[in-house]
């Protein structure tokens, strides 16, 4: 009964205090909202980058092993089975000369092919690798096989492009982690100071509560609930802005940065808003807890 009454007092006080100190409360919400917007944008940016990199990685993890013309189907089958058994390879697909020609035609290069007259394209085994890093080894391994084309280009592997892509991925991932960490620390400091200012305005109230015999937790709860309320409102504000601009931004970037395959990810947006709400609430609660602690030593 007393617990319930204390909880009710805390909830009612939190609401009342938020409303009575509306200017300070709104200032705290907008500051937190701005920070959460930056954090949300950084998270969304990292996600979009990851999307692009995953896509690039998937594309780069394919390798075509070109086969000599006229080799027996049995020997191709044999190599196909041997490669499929390799744990580093996730899929092996045989592409005959006609398939290769059709693919070229799909890329609007049929005219060039028709000009040649016959089909000069080799048949190939197309491999999907699990990890980009295994490409050099697989490439070296298949080159030694007797049925593989001994011409100038036995496989589609290009060590320059793959090496650069791997370096780019590593650098971008480090940059994303650093940005997220710096933003995280900055937001924590700013949010705590904002809440501390809001609590400072009400230090007299805390002093009175302590003097009439309130326990530390009885004093804390309304402030913590108020912090959670402010944090959630700030997160909804930030989430709303991100939700409103995400789709138009993706279509806009798609047309200007056409080399990057950007896509709108609705499920990530929902997860991001949930993350912001949970994070905002937790930050608000933590900031209030620390903010009140200074004034509880009465």
């Amino acid at each position: 009964m007393r617990m319930l009454a204390s909880l009710r007092f805390a909830v009612v006080s939190a609401g009342q205090n938020f409303y009575r100190n509306l200017a300070v409360s709104l200032a705290a919400v907008f500051t937190m909202g701005l920070i959460l917007l930056l954090v949300g944008m950084a998270l969304l940016g990292t996600h979009m980058l990851n999307q692009v990199l995953t896509d690039e990685q998937a594309r780069a993890s394919n390798i075509k092993v070109y086969l000599q013309d006229g080799v027996s189907l049995a020997s191709v089958n044999n190599l196909q089975q041997q490669l499929a058994a390799d744990p580093r390879i996730s899929a092996v697909h045989f592409e005959n000369k006609d398939d290769a020609a059709n693919e070229l035609r799909n890329h609007d290069l049929g005219v060039a092919l028709d000009a040649v007259g016959s089909n000069p394209l080799p048949a190939s085994l197309n491999l999907d690798l699990r990890r980009l890093a295994d490409l050099p080894d697989i490439d070296a391994m298949v080159r030694t096989n007797a049925i593989v084309d001994r011409g100038s280009k036995p496989t589609s592997y290009n060590p320059d492009v793959i090496g650069k892509l791997q370096t780019l991925i590593r650098v971008l991932q480090i940059i994303a982690v650093v940005i997220a960490a710096v933003l995280g620390v900055i937001s924590l400091v700013i949010i705590m100071n904002t809440i501390r200012t809001a609590v400072y305005v009400r230090r007299r109230e805390i002093e009175i509560m302590k003097l009439v015999g309130a326990t530390d937790w009885f004093v804390r709860w309304p402030f913590i609930l108020e912090g959670v309320l402010g944090g959630i409102l700030a997160a909804l504000l930030a989430g709303g802005v991100i939700a409103a601009f995400y789709k138009p931004a993706v279509s806009n970037l798609k047309s200007t940065l056409f080399i990057f395959p950007l896509t709108y990810d609705g499920s990530f947006l929902s997860a991001l808003i949930l993350m912001l709400v949970a994070g905002g609430g937790a930050l608000g609660a933590f900031g209030s807890y620390l903010g009140v602690r200074r004034f509880l030593s009465v």
Partner: protein, 273 residues
């Protein structure tokens, strides 16, 4: 406005409806009977000293005992140590040496978690009233009950009763800045009274008030004492102390220099300007 029957009955039974009329019985000192059990000390200081971190010595070797029926004036110049003594009692400060007992419990080494219960023993008023400016008179008084006794029934009635005692029953919905200084101090007294404390501490309660209003506040405290509550009042108000003639404990330079049962603000024959 007509109140419910239960409350009217309570008031009829009340020997002295405080805040409205004051009888001489309340003002006159009562005889001290050593045999009365209520004369056991409710507050006692044993060799108490207080030195602040900056080196200022606020109290030195203070020994005193205050009984349940006592009305005590703590007098002395600014910085003599009166407020420190009050702050030590509510454990806003911790004594540097010696021992302090409140209702038989030693409070000097009391753990923090027990302080809320200790503070509920007291009703406390300050010179600056310490009211919540954005809350109404009724909300300010109710606040003390909501904090100390959450879920209490008949909250409104208890708040109205406390405000009736201090004569402010018609100003329930006013805000502090709509009241005079004396009225604000009465609200603070109602807030300090509403949970029926056994000890009432007043730190310069008349410091900001004119003589007439001050006298009204002191009458209120006398009547609270008459109801069986110990009252300790730190004050500079010489007129009030000399008129009331109750126990006076004088502090100078952090030491108790005088303790008289029916004392005056200054010692007999002490020079004044």
């Amino acid at each position: 406005m007509e109140r419910d029957g239960e409350q009217s009955e309570a008031r009829r039974r009340d020997p002295l409806p405080v805040g409205h009329t004051v009888s001489m019985a309340a003002v006159m000192p009562r005889p001290a009977l050593a045999a009365e059990p209520q004369l056991r000390p409710v507050i006692s200081f044993h060799g108490v000293g207080k030195t602040y971190p900056n080196g200022t010595v606020a109290l030195r070797d203070v020994n005193l005992a205050i009984n349940q029926t006592d009305f005590v004036f703590l007098v002395g110049a600014s910085g003599a140590g009166k407020s420190t003594l009050v702050r030590l009692l509510i454990r806003e400060e911790v004594a540097s040496s010696g021992r302090i007992f409140v209702e038989g419990r030693e409070i000097t080494g009391m753990p923090r978690r027990k302080l809320p219960k200790l503070r509920r023993t007291f009703g406390i008023v300050f010179q600056d009233y310490k009211l919540l400016q954005r809350a109404t008179v009724a909300q300010n008084v109710a606040f003390a009950l909501q904090v100390t006794q959450p879920g209490l029934r008949h909250l409104r009635e208890k708040v109205e009763e406390a405000l009736w005692i201090v004569g402010l029953e018609s100003k329930l919905e006013k805000f502090p800045d709509e009241l005079s200084g004396g009225e604000q101090q009465r609200v603070a007294i109602a807030r300090a009274l509403v949970h029926r404390p056994r000890i009432f501490l007043a730190d310069e309660p008349t410091g900001n008030l004119d003589p007439d209003t001050s006298w009204g506040i002191v009458q209120l405290l006398l009547q609270i004492n008459h109801r069986g509550t110990t009252v300790v009042m730190a004050t500079h108000n010489r007129e009030v102390v000399d008129l009331v003639r109750r126990r006076v404990i004088a502090i100078e330079g952090g030491r108790v220099v005088r303790d008289e049962i029916e004392g005056r603000y200054l010692k007999e024959g002490e020079a004044t300007i």
